[in-house]
């Protein structure tokens, strides 16, 4: 008798549909395990208005400079692409970009925060209102 064609034991037969069902469920839910990247979330400039208090301390002061390893102006972020801002913040958080201050700030931000902050700064122009929050 060909061993390959031998029927499998009864208990295993009953498990097959269950295994198939489990596999199907796992497959369906596998998409949820992908962590939402900061730039996939929808940010809102209005929500960002309340979240930029950490940013204004350096990035809203004209001529503000950092001093390591050389003296340089902190970048202008008003009018910058929102997805760039949020991806840069994520890179600081992940450690792909090294900078002690930016890392400390970004670790306190959620993906949604980063998206909102990105949208807030992207919306800035010479005619946009100054942030009324203290």
């Amino acid at each position: 008798m060909n061993k390959l064609s031998a029927a499998k034991p009864n208990s295993a037969n009953r498990l097959y549909p269950l295994v198939l069902l489990l596999g199907g469920v796992c497959f369906a839910f596998s998409s949820f395990s992908v962590r939402a990247q900061a730039q996939d979330l929808k940010g809102s400039a209005e929500a960002g208005k309340a979240k930029v208090w950490l940013c204004t301390g350096c990035h809203s002061i004209p001529d503000y400079r950092a001093d390591y390893p050389l003296v340089y102006h902190v970048p202008k972020i008003g009018g910058q692409n929102s997805a760039y801002i949020s991806s840069a913040l994520l890179a600081y958080k992940k450690g792909e970009r090294k900078h002690p201050t930016m890392r400390a700030i970004s670790t306190s931000l959620s993906d949604q925060d980063m998206a909102d902050i990105g949208e807030y700064y992207a919306a800035q122009s010479s005619s946009s209102p100054i942030n009324s929050m203290k």
Binding site: P75, K76, N81, S87, E96, S125
Partner: protein, 113 residues
């Protein structure tokens, strides 16, 4: 007299730390095709995750290029496959000139609360 001539020659040969060369920066940027990603005006990038560069602070742009070069530096390195390969091989004067050119362009970047 000899002293004056010699000291003048010495000073001339030092090469005054001049303002970075914007024209040279413009040539470099064209050669290296930065506009391919950052846009022809350097504020209409091809992907929203690529930054606008036009009008950014000159010293910050130099700092950023340098950071991409020293990607493993624990204090200011940046690990980015695209920019790392772009910044590779740039000398300091080249980076300063590129930064000066990009900083001189008109753009929407600003400092505001």
């Amino acid at each position: 007299m000899k002293f004056i001539v010699i000291s003048l020659l010495f000073l001339a040969s030092m090469g005054v730390a001049s303002a970075a060369d914007i024209e040279s920066g413009k040539k470099l940027v064209a050669e290296r095709n930065c506009a391919a990603c950052h846009g022809p005006d350097f504020y209409t990038s091809i992907a929203p995750t690529y930054p606008r560069l036009a009008g950014q602070h000159e010293d910050y742009l130099y700092y950023a290029l340098r950071s991409y070069q020293v990607e493993t530096n624990a204090n200011f390195g940046r690990k980015n496959a695209i920019m790392g390969s772009q910044a590779k091989g740039l000398t300091e004067p080249q980076m300063r000139n590129i930064a000066a050119y990009l900083a001189s362009l008109p753009g929407p970047l600003l400092v505001k609360k």
